[in-house]
Amino acid sequence: MKWSEFFVTGEPLIYAADVAIVLTVIGIVFVLTYFKKWKWLWDEWLTTVDHKKIGVMYIISAVLMLFRGGVDALLMRAQLTAPNMKFLNSEHYNEIFTTHGTIMILFMAMPFIIGLMNIVVPLQIGARDVAYPYLNALSFWLFFVGAMLFNISFVIGGSPNAGWTSYFPLAGNEFSPGVGNNYYAVALQISGIGTLMTGINFLVTILKMRAPGMTLMRMPMFTWTILITCVLIIFAFPVLTVALALMTFDRLFDTQFFTMANGGMSMLWANLFWIWGHPEVYIVILPSFGIFSEVVSTFARKRLFGYKAMVYSIVGIAFLSFIVWVHHFFTMGAGAAVNSVFSITTMAIAVPTGVKIFNWLFTLRKGKIRFTTAMLWSLAFIPNFVIGGVTGVMLAMAAADYQYHNSYFLIAHFHYVLIAGTVFACFAGLHYWYPKMFGHILNERLGKWTFWLFMIGFNICFFPMYFLGLMGMTRRMYTYSEGLGWTPLNVVASVGAVLMGIGFIVLCYNIYYSARYGERDMTGDPWDGRTLEWATSSPVAHYNFAITPEVKDLDAYWEMKKSGKGFEIDEEKLKPIHMPSNSGRPFLISIAFFFAGFGLVFKWFWLAIIATIFIALGLILRSFDDDDGYYISVDEIKRTERLSGKGA
């Protein structure tokens, strides 16, 4: 292989990216060396098994990926703003919409949600860590190297270009001979393993590690949604694992599972992809519902309306999410009977979702509403998500879908549910729980600027797309001719995209500004919260709770405050706390996964085999690992609690 094939060449944009990557790496190495931070990085972050630090790393990665996916989106909007643009050629455009979709779903939405659940769930259930802290670190690092492997594709070897769905036969060797789609198959596989382990980890954590008194029906709504999400992950991700493995075999070893010839069945890929893909969208939306439930209830100063109905709706949505997948390919030709069944199951999902919408509205009714940034995101979610949901029901009608299918109407629909649902929730959750992560509050004024810029920009960007779709503009077209009359709405959409970009920049500035000048949270309970995470100090001590709280009510901490006691720590009752030890092995195993993946992408099997030996070695070492963790002494707990102002 020649160097000119190994590195992507010939595009000025790519050369600029090469320079930026080299400069960034040099910058990071320089800063770490100059400030002598290498040991700090290793001890505090790379080897940590603390769920809060892992959560923070997930969120940092997610924000980086939001930047990457956002740049992709802006490049696409630049290309589509005017007819016959020559900004991106068709091949480059294909690569960019592919990486935009894959990154936004798998490397932005998923890690943002998983980051928040890492930080919040153990705190909400009164636990000191997750059930398997070591596994949790491995989950994160596998996700991270998967994301990095996927991201280097655009400078080394070439990006995948068959869409985030990577339908066969387009994604097969015959039509996509380069290494780009190998990246898709391998990188998603690696991060998928991490996600699957996260699902198992949190299912066990929630079922086994709740504080005494917290029955299932006293769990905070966010924890409930995560529990159900874990069930979805555990049952849906194996399908993706198998489908990606078959794809990898097809691409690397010339098997014929999804090919056109030799008995292969290309449409089976679409079928398997969406058996995973539909539960996947609920994996990112259910936790969002949980976040909104927490925020709405806190800032309306009311108990969540219809808690039980909410729980049953989540279970119902999760159940239905497994039997609707065909609505992604009504036009494939499965026939009237198949399409009708899946049309009906799809529309049925609107019922439990509607129940939840009304529950949020009734929670707000007669509430003492405080318009904080987190609350603004949650309030904006309701109407925006309903627009996405109603157009979803339109798409669910199989006969009508033949008109909407793969048009910009669909693009508008799923951005309305994914951005107004998941992205708004991530921002709401970020503002809401930020004090728990860093000990200070994100500036509210800048937060509201972000909100208004982003929310208005979002509507300006995506609302016109419904009409563009009805006017005949189809998905994934890289340019269009002048006479079609699509230009004005495309210009409007691009203006909206720029506003969203500015909103994101304000958010990043807010993170910097608040770290320097932000209001420190001395109380640990800045929003007058209701659930147990607000009973801890901000930032949270690494053992979370000096003594395990006792839960008597759904809003456990609210009940403690109402009964006048708060969450008092009786120093007499302190006992040494058992905590898991840090380990560098998850990080090192994941590095080996990276090289194994890289070897597979380029069919350098010697590299893949050597790296796999290191993975196996890591697993063997782990199984002979006798480290049972360590104890934090009572004296140290007392010191920490007094410093945070919680101890007596």
Partner: protein, 99 residues
């Protein structure tokens, strides 16, 4: 955490399960690649082997018999069975038009 993770005895169950899984896999591989049977016979045999191996792993690795709560296990198994039927039978039904 805090629980004692050390097993008193050698994990025979896991070793036997692992070896049996390998044996079943290699039988399937042989049947598919070099048995020379009819396609229908090959499909029948490898599907049977797959079901056998799934059952084997449930008992050898997945602590099927070790839970204190039979109800949770029952719900788990019923739901898994439901999903398996949806995925397999559903896919066959959906893809029937090209089969």
């Amino acid at each position: 955490m805090g629980a004692n993770h050390h097993h008193e005895t050698f994990p025979w169950k896991h070793i036997v399960g692992f070896i049996l899984s390998l044996v079943l896999t290699f039988i399937a591989l042989w049947v598919a690649l070099s048995s020379g049977w009819t396609i229908k016979a090959i499909l029948g045999v490898i599907v049977t082997l797959a079901v056998l191996q799934a059952a084997l792993q449930l008992f050898m690795f997945m602590h099927m018999t070790e839970s204190d709560s039979g109800r949770v296990q029952t719900i788990n198994m019923l739901y898994s069975f439901f999903i398996a039927v949806v995925v397999v039978a559903g896919s066959i039904w959906v893809m029937w038009f090209v089969l």
